[in-house]
Symmetry: C2
Subunit: 114 residues, 2 copies
DNA sequence: CAGGATCCTCCACGATACTG
DNA sequence: CAGTATCGTGGAGGATCCTG
């Protein structure tokens, strides 16, 4: 990413740019929770997602050092994805995002005074 | 957003969908740090951002109850934006995202042994 | 099984001009 | 000052088929 000086004071912009992509946060979250996942398992869990999209975002995450790709030279092929050490530094954010979502999906139950 | 059952177990997807938009996290962060900002000030700080984009994302954030819009009936017009109570529940995430960005923009300085 | 290759669609975002 | 109105576009994401 071309990260010009304009955003030197906006580290948050750096973060969201790095993890830009409709599914990246979810992919990271899945890998965080399941530790290790094979490609098709991931693909299944993220339906509806296109192969092109999943494989592209995985590649970018790998290139950015957030996801590790372990390929076994077997037939049929076997590939396992997991978080790298660096990727694991995101888990607190992933947790908070998930919790925030939980609390906002449903109408807050504690103020129901009907 | 049409949030079908497929993602009932993916609250994180709810969160990122809610705050989807190239600038939304940055807008929220700015409002978090500056408390209250007028439209043009925000626009200035977020250059290069288009009016259409800023005003649209602000509107969505307002519709989602994350941002408050205070309009003063003066001439010239004066409008102030700030976080709502609900928007403030995001601040821990904003902080972590910002910190994560800081730590990743520069090559880690603590291992400089020159 | 784990993707790559192709083609296509759509809309988020941008640029610019205009207005109450 | 704080936006709308209009028009235009790139590229992210999708659908489908193919392959080592």
């Amino acid at each position: 990413m071309d990260f010009d000086a304009k955003f030197g004071n906006c580290p948050i912009y750096y973060t969201i740019s790095k993890i830009e992509g409709k599914w990246k946060w979810v992919i990271l979250y899945k890998l965080y929770k399941c530790k290790v996942m094979r490609y098709n398992r991931l693909w299944d869990d993220l339906q509806p997602i296109a192969h092109r999209t999943l494989s592209k975002q995985l590649k970018e995450l790998e290139a950015d050092g957030l996801v590790h790709r372990e390929q076994y030279n077997e037939v049929p092929p076997k590939v396992e994805y997991s978080l790298t050490k660096d990727g694991e530094t995101l888990t607190p954010i992933l947790d908070m995002m998930s919790q925030w979502g939980e609390r906002h999906i449903n109408p807050r139950p504690e103020v129901s005074n009907d």
